[in-house]
């Protein structure tokens, strides 16, 4: 029998976990807070008034149009594919289940370079069209990628897997009892999809869609390359070309409002229904085998989506790269720079994600402050965060061209992506029993022992997914890197952008392909992991 320690008597005191979480949250939230404050408080002067009278409406309407069109395309790409892959059996279903996530590996700006080249007048698609029809270039109309629809298509191609993944999970989680009840009430397959499955999966689909649209609003590389004047492009131009950081900050506030607006719409759309299943005997529905015509039709549809979003643009890049040789431009240095920054950024983001995830388990204050800061950082486009960091750099007197800028860049990566890393860690905890902490306490484990012996090992089961997501996201990041990197310190993303902007697409292909290839491995791994998890859940 162990005696009760007299020293154990104590009054409630300042909680160290809450303090550490608060520190982490401050690190995550500071850049966005500074960008907003500067935008709101700092006067924009005549330049701002000029922007308001000439370009503000254009930037805003263009951004909203791109968001609206991208949303439509994402829903068209993601929802039917997720539905068929989750609940139907058709040729190639197992392949499409994971392959449809592949576009996540290629950033929007890479797809933009590839499609701009592939769909160009001299590109392979129009050449083939002319060869087949015998027409000349002046005889027909061909959609331009350098347009709002073009940018929307590129962004939807790159980002639809977000909505695909959440929709797939929601459809797989539909209760068989609910589906059977609907069937017994005479619902046709069409009605089953439209009136039962789709409303039930709506919150999840909107969650994925909101994420994709925030990324769309945050995009700079693709919009800039395709010449579409979105707010991101306006911010970069105000800062870079016009040297008007105050104007950039004001535009940034507008962009943040749009991002928060998307989150708000997602909350409203989620409604009060949630995705809770009420049937106590819960079984995953068995997949319906489609007939040969419908089955092959669906397979062709999935192939088309995969071809448009990934295979054609990436193949084009490989083709161009092979055609022109790999010797174009310096590649080793940017590759090492990318690797260094991605490793440092993802490591820092991982530590912050772990801190706020574990903090959230301890008390409500830590949970609120951690999630709020991470959410704000994630919603804020990289360009806005970089602006915040630039303000801090200029106030503190550090050189924008010096190594301090690199440290700030790592900080911005962490601020931007911590929320993405925290998701899998949270998921690991949500799979663990709720009473773990209390069980450990009853066995005499102190706060520190619980952290080391319970919380960290439990969180680590989601660590590989978190690390993969963080690494890929930081590797692909362009606008913040473009604004904050020291002179001559190019990453693959920056180099690809610079070459593409100079109309040297051949030189841009290799860094673009390297980014995609680096992202591909982890995405395939993640995709297989998610697919296996789905299969074991269905089996269980």
């Amino acid at each position: 029998m162990q005696a009760i320690k007299a020293s154990s008597f104590h009054l409630p005191r300042l909680n160290p976990v809450a303090l550490i979480t608060l520190a982490a949250a401050s690190l995550i939230g500071a850049p966005v807070a500074i960008a907003i404050l500067t935008g709101v408080i700092g006067g924009g002067g005549d330049a701002w008034l000029h922007i308001v009278s000439t370009q503000l409406l254009g930037y805003t309407m263009t951004t909203l149009a791109v968001i609206g069109l991208t949303a439509t395309l994402i829903l068209l790409f993601a929802v039917p594919t997720a539905w068929f892959v989750s609940l139907n059996e058709f040729p190639g279903r197992g392949f499409f289940e994971w392959a449809l996530i592949l576009p996540l590996a290629a950033p929007g700006y890479v797809l933009a370079y590839a499609w701009a080249d592939a769909a160009d007048v001299a590109g392979p698609i129009q050449s083939l069209l002319r060869d087949v029809t015998g027409l000349s270039a002046r005889d027909y109309w061909f959609p331009s990628v350098y347009s709002i629809p073009g940018l929307s298509f590129v962004m939807a191609s790159a980002l639809f897997p977000y909505a695909y993944l959440t929709a797939r999970a929601a459809f797989s989680n539909l209760s068989l009892c609910t589906m059977e009840a609907a069937r017994s009430l005479g619902a046709s397959p069409r009605r089953l999809f439209l009136q039962v499955a789709l409303p039930a999966a709506r919150p999840a689909i909107f969650a994925g869609l909101a994420l994709a649209l925030m990324e769309t609003a945050a995009d700079y590389g693709a919009a800039s390359y395709l010449g579409v004047q979105t707010l991101s492009v306006g911010i970069f131009r105000a800062w870079h070309s016009f040297s008007e950081p105050a104007v950039a900050a004001r535009l940034a506030v507008l962009l943040i409002l749009i991002a928060f607006g998307l989150q708000f719409i997602e909350r409203v759309a989620r409604g009060r229904g949630g995705i809770q299943q009420t049937a106590t005997r819960w079984r995953t529905p068995r997949r319906q085998k489609l007939g040969p015509v419908a089955g092959w039709g669906v397979a062709i549809g999935c192939t088309l989506v995969l071809m448009l979003s990934f295979v054609i643009p990436v193949s084009r890049l490989i083709w161009v790269s092979a055609e022109t040789g790999l010797g174009q431009g310096q590649i080793v240095r940017p590759f090492l720079n990318s690797l260094t920054l991605a490793l440092a950024g993802s490591a820092f983001a991982f530590v912050l994600a772990l801190t706020i995830t574990i903090g959230a388990r301890q008390n409500r204050f830590s949970q609120f402050i951690g999630r709020f800061a991470a959410g704000a950082g994630y919603a804020a486009p990289g360009i806005v965060l970089a602006l915040g960091a630039l303000f801090i750099l200029s106030w503190t007197g550090f050189s924008v061209a010096g190594p301090a800028a690199l440290i700030f860049l790592v900080w911005i990566y962490a601020s931007r992506f911590t929320a993405a890393g925290a998701e899998p860690l949270n998921a690991a905890f949500s799979r663990a029993p709720a009473s773990l902490g209390n069980a450990a306490r009853s066995l005499g484990a102190s706060r520190f022992q619980r952290l080391v012996r319970v919380d960290l090992p439990v969180a680590m089961s989601g660590a590989s997914a978190a690390a993969i997501i963080l690494f890929v996201e930081t590797l692909k990041e362009l606008p913040a890197t473009l604004m904050l990197r020291p002179f001559n310190w190019d990453t693959l993303a920056v180099q690809a952008f610079a070459y593409a902007s100079d109309e040297r697409l051949a030189a841009a292909t290799l860094p673009s392909l390297l980014i995609t290839a680096a992202g591909l491995g982890p995405v395939v791994l993640l995709s297989l992991q998610l697919t296996r998890a789905g299969q074991s859940r269905a089996a269980g």
Binding site: M1, S8, A439, R441, L443, G444, Q449
Partner: protein, 334 residues
């Protein structure tokens, strides 16, 4: 301080947002005895358990181990320093540790070999020595709960508190796991608290039962005493089914056997099939529920009573049965 000491709650109150979820509760957990805390969900049972465990502070009253205060308004020993074992409905096994490592978790002060030996002993005691290397997700629900009980007992706690420990288990597994688990708990000779909403589980498992409703302990006694001498209708209802009838609806001879009241509550055992019975009642409906037959008997056009019977034949509607009254199962409604 010996571990074979009682744990007392004296007038403890716990409030959430100003609302008392446990109100002035007093309860003693005696060494070697299992005390059940019985009540509907929301009655405050789990909160009282958490106060005993030290997972929450008290807003009034005190909790003592022997005569040492462990929770008062101004002082609070945290759960990790109380050496009280906890068993949860969701098992709370550490997912990253296998069964033997889970059981060893609380044995940090022992050498590695001794830890293993102790853990093996407790796994063996709960019939799980062959599952020592299995991870929680590889164990069945019953096995997981036995591992969690082994883990709690291996740490040699001063008491063990169980929060609906068998509710998550399949009906077929439940009685076997409960028997094994509670035998091990009783053998440890420490005070034990079993929180449950299942009256039959409380009566089967516990030496004493405290009935709780709206944060208040209504009555605490042996199962027998509670069943037969409840202090209120709420306690009587918590222990088993009751049928309420007016005095005028009872056959005249039965009215003479029960104390004067306007309304009575009858347990099903109050009415017995008895060839020498002093009343003949008509069967409204009868249903066999495994070994027992539940019979609904007509008293008046609007009132019926229930009876339970053993036997091979189920009577049909309209049959007349001779019955007698066992007045000890009749409570005057107050």
């Amino acid at each position: 301080m010996s571990k074979l000491q009682p744990i007392h709650a004296r007038g403890v109150t716990r409030r959430y947002d100003g609302r008392a979820v446990v109100q002035d509760a007093s309860l003693t957990l005696q060494p070697g005895k299992i005390t059940a805390l019985l009540g509907q969900s929301g009655a405050g049972k789990s909160t009282l358990l958490r106060l005993f465990a030290g997972l929450e502070p008290v807003d009034a009253g005190e909790i003592l181990h022997g005569d040492v205060p462990v929770s008062t308004v101004s002082r609070h020993i945290p759960a990790e320093d109380r050496h009280i074992g906890l068993i949860f409905q969701d098992f709370a096994l550490f997912p990253h540790l296998n069964a033997i490592d889970n059981v060893s978790f609380g044995l940090v002060r022992q050498s590695k070999d001794k830890r293993r030996e102790t853990a093996r002993h407790w796994l063996d005691r709960l019939g799980l020595s062959h599952r020592a290397k299995a991870y929680p997700h590889e164990l069945s629900g019953g096995e997981q709960q036995r591992v969690s009980i082994a883990r709690a007992l291996a740490a040699q706690p001063v008491a063990i508190l169980m929060d609906e420990p068998f509710s998550g288990l399949d009906v077929t597994l439940k009685s076997e796991v409960r028997r094994t688990a509670l035998a091990a708990v009783a053998e440890a000779g420490i005070p034990a608290l079993l929180v449950t909403h299942d009256a039959s589980e409380a009566m089967r498992a516990a030496d004493r039962i405290a009935v709780m409703s709206d944060g208040v302990i209504l009555q605490e006694d042996t199962p027998e005493k509670l069943y037969l001498e409840p202090v209120s209708m709420a306690v009587a209802r918590a222990l088993g089914p009751l049928r309420s009838v007016r005095r005028n609806a009872l056959p005249e001879k039965w009215q003479a056997k029960v104390p004067l009241a306007e309304t009575y509550c009858l347990r099903p055992e109050a009415v017995r099939l008895d060839p020498a019975g002093d009343a003949m009642l008509e069967v409204v409906a009868a249903q066999r529920t495994s070994s027992l037959i539940e019979i609904e008997l007509k008293l008046t056009e609007t009132e019926t009573i229930h009876a339970l019977a053993l036997g091979p034949f189920t009577p049909g509607p309209g049959d007349k049965l001779a019955v007698s009254l066992a007045p000890e199962f009749v409570f005057a409604a107050r």
